[in-house]
Point group: D4
């Protein structure tokens, strides 16, 4: 019966992909602008890169632009040009379509070899010998439905917290290790210029095996928040990819 | 202040885009597989094509593959090849990554010149002289929040109902014109082969000015439903684009 | 890493089981008293028997006895004795522990070779050449979370609707084929004696390929409802198993 | 098509108003009794005054009077007389219609030149060089719908927190600067006489660039709360307007 | 104690107002654009006019303009000029601030002598000798809280259903008298020009004692709907006021 | 019209009762077993006694007995006998019908002259010169509906917190005066014998003007909790009444 | 341990009461004004009378008076006088305290020998030989929690539907027997005088074994509704008691 | 009437069981893997063992395996073999069906003489003379429905907290006795090997009369968490049973 053949093809291919991803070089948590950019460069460098995204769709906060006006702003177009996103100059800034950017980043990351597992939520991290070496994942649907079901695990050499303002993995670490980032975390008042610079400069490893990219950098280092300007996000993702490539010799 | 400059750039560009879209050649309602494919071909033929999508993200039911296994199946790869989506042969069927397909379709439709207005929901249709000539839209956020706020309008020469199983525009028409499709609507039991064929053959105009593409074709003609096989969806979108190009001489 | 080895063992074994179940002899929908009993006898007769249950746990309405007093009543103990459930005579009736019965029925059905897929919900039926030949299933969690995700399919030679009062598959058929059971369905006022007899006598095939067992028999034939007396349920399940064995020559 | 002309007129005019408000002299947050009164006097003094209100309607807590009895009480009628609200003497107090007061204050503030942006919520403040110089705003509908969408900004020379008991901007400042108002905030037990006097006397600047008016004064200085007596609210708004006019030389 | 004096003043004045309103000349249900305009002219003609509004605030759908852009459009400014609302010509249409219009209409209706009872919902109508002669009201808060509490009544010589699209009183009548408006009700597709004309021309008495004004006219006569253009609403309210004045000899 | 006469009679009588209660001798907050008993004895001693109850019905936790078995237990029947409630001896304890007790207590308190204002919730206390002298009340329906509406006040010479486990007034005081009951509050593990004795012995004044009765005594003094035994509750209410009569010379 | 002795006393007494009630003369469904009055007279006549009430408290709609003003109105005081409820003459009507009435009716019904099972909901009726002879009940808590738990039964010689507007038992019968009351049911517009008379005159048996009392009479015979006037309710309950006593020879 | 006979049989038997359980040797709280295993061995040793489970069904987290793949993993099969659960070797681990395990454990515990009270939730503990000697229980349905109803009690010589991650009884003790486990509780990052060993070794008495088994051991001793591996859970349950048998001389 064709219906069951289709079912078989889907389940077999997905399971093969999933089992293959159980031991990745890098697990990127969060498929927003920073996570997708990091994955694009990491996969492009030949590392086995897995992206875990809790929603059905990737793109994170890109889709809504500012208050739902689906346009975003950058100050330089280098990365946009590289991934094939059109932009327009407007009073010294560059604008692009938010939908186009979300789609292009996702498409290029997948084409580069990164594999997204959407509808998959990170519940916890695996820490061995003082270093993060994996994530504990569950089905988003199971969590949304508040069902009593255990999670499973994915292993990785390096993990990136690209979960945005929430800095979800950082918070999990801090809940169990009160001394970690003991001065507190949390983004500051909005100040675009300081934030755009800091989110790139401070991106990097914050705990053995765990890196931060994008808005979670602001949360960790108490940098100002920014609004619907995405240049820093993209560069922050690229910066983390460079650091990990250097660390892994890729 | 840089913060307000960014705000200004976003609001001005979005408003310009929106006002420009008030009189489109085609409004496609629903940015799922059929709607995006139709928009890709229509915009490629030089028609001013506007896509209205109620969610933040495009891609509709593609993202989840089958029961969340993010893989989809087609029987031919012609359109996938054209839009740059990789596929694998498996027992006579072809599988592709669901995330890659959702992103590629969106990216190619935007690149071809179609413009997506996401977070925008169609509340009603505009009918003049017995023909659909526009849609009544509201902000999805306003509707989700159940606020008492009036909608506005977008005009178009042709409108496509690519809203999937729901066939939302068809239902709006039937609610007001009980004689329209008087034998009833609603998709049938699952039968992939019949459905895949029918969804392409029966795609087309169902009311002056209004076309159906994708699963809404099944709903209108009581065809069987199908599962996570997307070949018919893509071809149904292409078929409607061809018919509209012919009708408008594009 | 041991964590990922465990993950691998679980996912591989489950997927193997699932793919194996894509073509079963019988799919039983609903793991309540009638469905489990039917599965116990069918698997015992050597047929490949798959049970689809939307909740996490099996047992259906057994667990709560009457208004939460976790005791159930039967009039004969033959089946209870066979599956190893203790009972006590009380004024001409026999009582058993509701928890013991739910556990024993599940355990014996699994031991006999039936395999339960819990957290799995039937969304639709597959009908070919006028006969039910499979079910369209989705993850309960996905449905509870109202996510936009397509279902997949399971094929079977015979399907049993053991979904209780709701008679869910019957309702799906009636929604698409208004002439099916045109006099209407729905259980009647409570009348234990009539119901206990009818639920056994009328159990059987109601549509090519589709059988009813348990309370869905009452719904189909407008028989009276009963309360927390479970003898008829068990016998109704056994009766359907006998009819299917006869039909399939098992 | 007339429908799209109307759409165009609305969107163009609103966008023009919004862009014009991106750099205001004063942003008043909250269109309750104190905020509207402050705006009425500020706009009357020729300052560009923008009111940001999260609800659809203005008037705040005025509409419900006391426990829904839509009557309010003042001890002097000077401001009521000025804005054209009728009042009645009753045992040494003056009563007015709550609906009349809410409407009159809004109408007079708008006529004086203040512009209300309703359905707009302040998410954060912009702080530069140690002073509040703007607010970070989002669409209330987007926030009510819990959508993942970034905010935008409005700049101002002075900002007034007229958000009532909640003192929302004060709380945002305190969350990021734990030393600000380190002795704690929160209104006290009800004591009308003390509160009515204090809410006027203590109204003013509490942080460079940020003023409090109305009930947020009680929250900041731990003054008693009051009930449905509105004289102090109105005078507190007028007092803040006077202080800002003096500060800005208007 | 001053606190209880304030309580006493509010409760006494409200109760006096409420008891006085128990026998009004006209009860207007709904304080949106049509209802407030009708009340303004009726009270101005010396009739005892009571407005019942279920929300806390008046103004209905005016506040949100179109999709939250708080601007509204009219084609003539006669009524706006009369009630003191500023307007701007834009391409042959006139725009006004939505907030200013909502406030001005409310203020002028109250000043003319109409009295609003907000937070008060109509549950039913009183019909005697075949004519509507009152409304059955309850506290909106009680209804929102789903409490089991009986309503009370208000009597009137004439009642106006100005409840907008919902046409709530019309629906109550139809539920009990299936023959009333037997051809069905419900507004049609959007068509501004036809709707703007019809909503004024067809405004009037639809059942002995019961008049419709504003969008409920469209619902009753199956006229097209309109969007955020409010001229017809205002004129429809004025038209009903004229008809009632004529009927009552006021 | 009879309907409005009924309305008038109800509103006038209620308002008269309410205004009369604005200055009571005692306000009892909570119409559970302790509050009703206190009110019964206080009103019986000639004091003007007002009971404020947030639910529609009085009786508090009496109705459900233990886990919904509507029977309660006491160790002595003196108060039950006095208010006319039947009881049965069972193994050294006395049982009574929960429904009968709830009704009898309410009936006797009203007959003794206490007046219940149900559907009325205490939001805050009025404190002057260091003593509680009134309560700030709102409509429960308004609070349940989360409407933005101000409360009003009731004055009293003495106030009783008979709100049960929650000790609501105590918590309000502690929130504003952190030094009050600085060692913390909260009931202890269940221990019926200790609790039954303590709830009577420790009942009394805890803050100038504020008394506790019933379970709020356990909360204040960290006494053990008890289950569905109500003798201590009744005696605790009587004890507080005696203390207040002594204090007020009644 | 005293704690378990109390538990034992409660559970034993309740179970004894419950088992005793399994075969009653009359089951009254609904403990509102009509149901309690009927039970008071039936029990007073020596019949074994069981009241089933789904809420925790009895009294139904009495507690809230009119829109929460807790006063009710009657036109004659005969029954009030009999059950010991005080009333006041006001303009030809009589007012009583709603709380006092709810408590007194409950107390007198229990004293007369009727037994209330609260928190108990009727799910269905038992019909044998064409006559209602029992009710199918479940725990309200189980139904509120949407748990999958079977109900149990109570038998009776006569059953009274005193469930108010909802006429719940009548609706259950009609759902299964479409010919019963084929002209439809539902109360009419408010008209106090007609309703007060009809609710008494038409009270009685509507189906073998099933009687209606109170507002369910209006629903069955499409009589007008009434507001917070309770004389007819009480008399309707007494009337049904008289008819049943006559039928049963009590 | 048969219906009431069935009701009587159920209620009588349940009540007898419940009263008999009021004084147990052991109350096990939580019918998950650890609790059921403990109960199986305790009852097997002849101790009167009562299991209290808040859900309708037993089995806890077993049913869902890992992320809903209903397979579980153990490292040794000794206990599985003893209770009759089939297992398969897979790369050095053993897998079993989750449904089979949940059913078998429940069935064997009941057969051994333990009695489950499902739909029953522990609200608090009874502590006398410094030792836990019982639990305070309520109906889960009542708690889910947020009804104001008192609990009852069950006494026991020893109580086991087998409530999993939540360690519910431990938390109740800590809330009242801040010095208990003063260094804090909470499970650690996932580390299967350490956790599997620790959950067995540290199982035991943590407070006089109170034991922990299963995941609550991890929570108490801050051990790592584990995923869907159940060997440690079963052994932890067995270990606690051995310790209690030793303590009670059974």
């Amino acid at each position: 019966m064709k219906e069951t053949e289709i079912t078989r093809a889907i389940v077999e291919e997905y399971t093969q992909n999933f089992l293959d991803a159980l031991e990745s070089d890098i697990v990127v948590v969060g498929a927003g602008p920073a996570g997708l950019t990091a994955a694009y460069y990491l996969a492009g460098a030949g590392l086995k890169t897995t992206i875990v995204e809790k929603k059905l769709s990737t793109g994170g906060g890109i889709w809504g632009g500012g208050t739902g006006h689906n346009v975003i702003v950058v100050e330089q177009t280098e990365i946009l040009d590289e991934i094939g996103v059109r932009s327009h100059e407007r009073d010294g800034l560059y604008t692009s379509g938010a939908v186009e950017l979300a789609a292009a980043l996702t498409y290029q990351a997948e084409q580069a070899g990164a594999r997204v597992f959407n509808l998959t939520e990170v519940e916890d991290v695996v820490v061995k010998d003082g270093a993060v070496c994996g994530v504990v994942i569950n089905s988003t649907a199971i969590l949304m439905a508040s069902l009593h079901v255990d999670p499973v695990c994915m292993g990785a050499r390096k993990v990136i917290d690209a979960t945005g303002h929430a800095a979800e993995l950082i918070r999990m670490l801090r809940q169990r290790e009160p001394d970690f980032l003991a001065d507190g975390i949390g983004e500051g008042f909005m100040d675009v210029e300081t934030a755009e610079r800091g989110v790139v400069e401070r991106a990097g490893e914050v705990y053995p095996g765990l890196y931060v990219a994008g808005m979670s950098v602001c949360t960790v280092y108490r940098l100002p928040r920014m609004g619907p300007i995405f240049g820093g996000m993209l560069e922050s993702g690229r910066r983390v990819a460079e650091l990990i490539c250097a660390a892994l010799g890729a």
